[in-house]
């Protein structure tokens, strides 16, 4: 179970002496939450880069708890002669999550059978899948995705949505910039950047979810996030098996 969280407090950012692209942005993404940011301007990209820790805001703070998996929007000019497997292995070992295997499995799930080809020979779509495998590999606590569906076929798009859902269910905090609206089905909250500020609303399409901290009949700890509809059956099952319930809280 992952316990990722992301918190931006009073974030301002401007490039050089230009007008700020972000003004006083504050948002917290808790474990299991998926925040989707809409808005067709550069501010979303800046927000995601700040959230991922690539960019330091001019003012305010950006903090995340745990390891970050990051997918940038563009994938132009990949490193030459470096195979997808070698690059994924480098990302895995550099980030401290040494398992390269799960990234190769993710790549297969996304429809790429061989990771032996050099990155600079791959099509845009395949390269996007390699980068997605890099972002989701190693079960990151915080997942930051910049337009993850931009270059994907419908099958890979479906798999990516499943990966996002699975990561959130496992307790990851997920932040997505999405202009196509495809991520709305997995969003717990949707935000728009208007006039440099972030306007966050609860996603209508996503049912409320709860986090249950408990112990089963044998005393083994349980820490899960489930849809609200599954809460009562699970609690009943726990109690009937002699388990203990410590905490039930809504996940925003």
């Amino acid at each position: 179970m992952r316990r990722g969280s992301l918190r931006l407090d009073g974030v301002w950012h401007a490039y050089g002496n230009a007008t700020p692209v972000l003004a006083d942005v504050s948002v917290a993404i808790e474990p299991g939450e998926v925040l989707v940011v809409h808005g067709r301007n550069g501010a979303g990209k800046t927000l995601l880069r700040i959230a991922a820790g690539v960019l330091r805001p001019r003012a305010g703070t950006a903090k995340h708890n745990g390891r970050v998996g990051y997918l940038p929007q563009r994938s132009d000019d990949p490193p030459p002669r470096l195979s997808a497997a070698a690059w994924l292995s480098t990302v895995a070992r550099t980030s401290g999550a040494t398992a390269t295997r799960d990234r190769l499995d993710l790549l297969r799930m996304l429809g790429v059978e061989s990771a032996a080809a050099p990155l600079d020979t791959l099509s845009v779509g395949t390269l996007a899948k390699v980068m997605l495998a890099g972002a989701f590999g190693g079960a990151p606590d915080v997942v930051v995705l910049d337009e993850p569906f931009a270059s994907l076929d419908s099958s890979a798009m479906k798999t990516t949505l499943e990966l996002i859902g699975a990561a959130a269910t496992d307790g990851a905090a997920v932040l997505i910039s999405d202009h196509d609206g495809a991520a709305a089905t997995v969003a717990t909250r949707i935000a728009t950047i208007t006039d440099r500020r972030l306007d966050v609303q609860r996603a209508a399409s996503r049912p409320a979810r709860v986090r249950i901290v408990a112990a089963d009949g044998k005393g083994s700890p349980i820490d899960v996030i489930v849809d609200a509809a599954a809460r009562d059956p699970l609690l009943m099952q726990l109690l009937s098996n002699g388990g203990s319930i410590f905490r039930v809280e809504e996940v925003r």
């Binding site: 960019l55 970050v68 890099g134």
Partner: protein, 216 residues
């Protein structure tokens, strides 16, 4: 950290852009030691001073060897742009240190002058200080700071020129004017001269880290 450094060294090798400056440096060594290059320390001054602009350019090559999306992923994997800068500096330095080792070994083997252990140590220090200075200067003209290739070349060339012409401007001036003379100056002068080049490089790296973290 080691994985990331070797990743940047692989990128340097695959992009092949480091070959011309490295060959140029080796050619310079060949020219300097083709005949009697003079006493040990003055001879080493030339080979050490040439390392500064070379390492500055190597640092830039490391930074431009990966496009921004991939550089961002590297930064996230490493835990921030400051760590990425440190890794790039280590990669560029490792090439610089390799060239410094070649320069020192070449001079000891070929130059017909005495090379006592203390002198070799001084020469090694001179080269390493210029490697650090070069890497630091290079960080200031490399992504994520937005400096065009032409502006980077001009900035490095201008620093080399000013530092060569004005004797107190580090990293090159003090080394040229304090060390390139006979008899060899006192150990304290040597230490200060070498130290200020290293300090300049470290300060430049710190400044690049500070500015780079909020750059586009």
């Amino acid at each position: 950290m080691t994985t990331a450094v070797s990743y940047y060294l692989r990128l340097l090798a695959y992009r092949q852009s480091a070959i011309p400056p490295v060959l140029l440096y080796l050619a310079l060594l060949g020219m300097i030691f083709a005949s009697d290059a003079g006493p040990a320390v003055p001879a080493a001054t030339a080979t050490a001073v040439a390392l500064m602009p070379l390492c500055a350019w190597l640092m830039r090559l490391c930074a431009v060897s990966e496009a921004r999306p991939f550089a961002d992923i590297t930064a996230v994997a490493l835990g921030g742009v400051t760590r990425r800068l440190a890794v790039r500096a280590l990669a560029a330095s490792s090439v610089g240190v390799g060239l410094a080792a070649i320069a020192v070994a070449w001079s000891v083997i070929v130059n017909p002058h005495p090379y006592p252990a203390a002198t070799v140590l001084i020469i090694v220090g001179m080269h390493l200080a210029q490697v650090i200075a070069g890497v630091g200067v290079g960080a200031l003209v490399s992504p994520p700071l937005r400096v065009t290739p032409g502006a980077a070349v001009l900035a490095i060339a201008a620093l080399v020129l000013v530092s060569l012409l004005v004797r107190w401007v580090p990293p090159l001036g003090p080394m040229l004017y304090n060390l390139d003379r006979t008899p060899v100056p006192s150990p304290m002068t040597l230490l200060v001269t070498i130290g200020q080049a290293a300090i300049l490089g470290t300060a430049a790296l710190a400044l690049a880290a500070l500015r780079g973290s909020s750059a586009r």
